[in-house]
Symmetry: C2
Subunit: 345 residues, 2 copies
């Protein structure tokens, strides 16, 4: 851990922030393309290699009639875990420390990247990704998300908890062991802020949750993919990634903390079914997913959901310079194919 956090800088004009994450010092030669080289050394996330990561902030251990929740203490690492959550070795966000200097203002806008950056190891089994996982294991995963959120939501400097997953090297996963990342940020990120603002406007006008209305309509649309008692999956009307889909709780909830025990089970099932279908349809493609959530004060108008972005296309000069996207698969085609694939899971 370094005493000084990274900088976050705001663009000159856009309301866009970047973390300048230079803790892992990189030289230009580090970026020169090495033909498909990949780290094939020992997996630091596999059982037996616990010493290769920082001490766990949370471990689930098997226990009679359930799990026992612990953390690694005094440099000792728990073994025989079901779930393990550790600080990221190269964190983009770091906790505030006494003695953090105020930075001399250079005239452009910045703040410190204060927060947390963790790796949640989803299973002791290297390849137990959600699309192929046992549902009971996925229930542990969702419970661990909730445990970490509960911990973070008590901290004043945490304004948002981003829970996301990078699957396969092409989608940015530097480790192939099944894992989720959790980042907390010192402000609400741009995309979520925009959703909050727009949904608040709808609520002010109609006293209705914009997302609840979307669910009613997409359930009956050609973009419908799958549902169980508590969750609905569909390809969004204006999805920017080929085969993009979203998973929503049917009940109006602003964040994961509101999930009941049954709903947690049904969310685990939704992950298994929908990511299993994606896996089957496109032969285990790279993908990212990210939860969108709100805090209590936005509970009237915001509705948490999970967005899944298969990584099948490249955002090129047009997308990167204009913020407008080109998707070569219509959401209706995506949904039709995913619907059939999920049904086979």
């Amino acid at each position: 851990m370094h005493a000084q956090p990274n900088e976050m800088r705001k663009d000159y004009l856009l309301n866009r922030w970047v973390v300048i994450a230079t803790k892992r010092k990189r030289r230009p030669t580090d970026f020169v393309k090495k033909a498909g080289k990949r780290n094939t050394d020992t997996c630091p996330l596999c059982p037996g290699n616990e010493h290769m990561t920082p001490p766990a902030v949370l471990v689930y251990l098997p226990s009679k009639g359930g799990v026992k929740k612990e953390k690694d203490l005094n440099g000792r690492r728990h073994k025989n875990w079901l779930i393990r959550c550790v600080p990221n070795l190269y964190p983009a966000f770091t906790p505030p420390q006494k003695g953090n200097k105020a930075k001399v203002e250079e005239g452009f806008i910045f703040k410190w990247a204060v927060g947390h950056h963790e790796v949640l190891i989803e299973s002791p089994r290297h390849d137990e990704h959600p699309g192929v996982a046992r549902v009971p294991q996925l229930i542990h995963v969702v419970n661990a998300y909730i445990d970490r959120m509960n911990e973070f939501c008590r901290k004043k400097y945490v304004k948002y908890v981003s829970i996301f997953r990078n699957h396969r090297l092409e989608a940015g996963a530097s480790l192939s062991h099944a894992h989720t990342q959790i980042i907390t940020t010192p402000s609400i990120p741009r995309t979520v802020k925009e959703e909050l603002k727009a949904s608040k406007e709808v609520w002010r006008k109609d006293r209705e949750c914009a997302f609840c209305e979307i669910l009613v309509r997409e359930k009956e649309s050609p973009r419908f993919i799958w549902e169980n008692q508590d969750f609905l999956a569909f390809a969004p009307w204006a999805g920017v990634h080929p085969f993009e889909f979203w998973i929503f709780p049917k009940e109006h909830q602003c964040c994961l903390l509101e999930l009941s025990k049954t709903q947690i089970k049904h969310l685990a099932e939704a992950l298994r079914k929908c990511l299993g279908g994606l896996n089957f349809l496109l032969e285990d493609p790279p993908y990212n997913f990210g939860f969108h959530q709100a805090t209590a004060e936005a509970c009237d108008h915001f509705h948490w959901h999970l967005e899944i972005y298969p990584k099948l296309a490249i955002w090129a000069g047009f997308e990167r310079s204009t913020g407008t996207f080109i998707n070569v698969v219509s959401p209706e085609d995506a949904a039709e194919n995913l619907r059939k694939a999920v049904a086979k899971e």
Copy 2:
């Protein structure tokens, strides 16, 4: 050409648009990863293969004391060209046609993707990319950008002209022959619209161009990279890509149409020097670039510029779901390395 344009759809809540570009029908199997497979057939953009593209809308031919500007007519293709601009075979945007049906509104917001999508072949030489090109050839390239802009700016349905470049497969270039793409859109794209809005606010308050002020400061900052009489290159304060840099005209101009003959020469030199430096520093890395421009009515407060995005990192779950970025190279480090590399060009 198809009679019906693609659809553009707006996200449920975000002010984000996507073109659903399904003209080139894709099946799920088209997305299953084929190990590094690349089209190694004849290059359709090389001299001799003009019949493999649609007829050119603009060709530059060598002529005594300059160039002669022509277009392909009656199915005949000009040979011996210096520059050639052709419609994209798989256009995302297509011109309006008589008989375009009004679409039945599904309740969510959309419009037709009306416009143009062209490929500007920058040289008869397959590998004459700007980082290694002859400056006189780059002057032709810039002149051709201006010619196409002049043509498009007369059309009522054209609200924006996006000129961008994808370099190498990893940055989205499906053809390796040196080329730029030009897309016209029926509205001003999100990123440019945001820049326009923010710079207008600055102008209203201070009667000053926000960009002119940025130039004054970045010229003296550790982010400075290179300048000539008319252009300045620097790594932006909050760049989101490792080694990102921007090129600005020193004179306050809202678009390329205002360039003088001398300035065109100096822009060609800026492209050659700066992209040559990038090429040298990172061994011909993939990159995208895109011009940001404004139309006449924004001329007071907007300042055109070129943004260059080396493609050295992957935007993963955090970036894609939050709109916040992590850059592992500080703009100051990027500038220092690029400054030295450009000096060697």
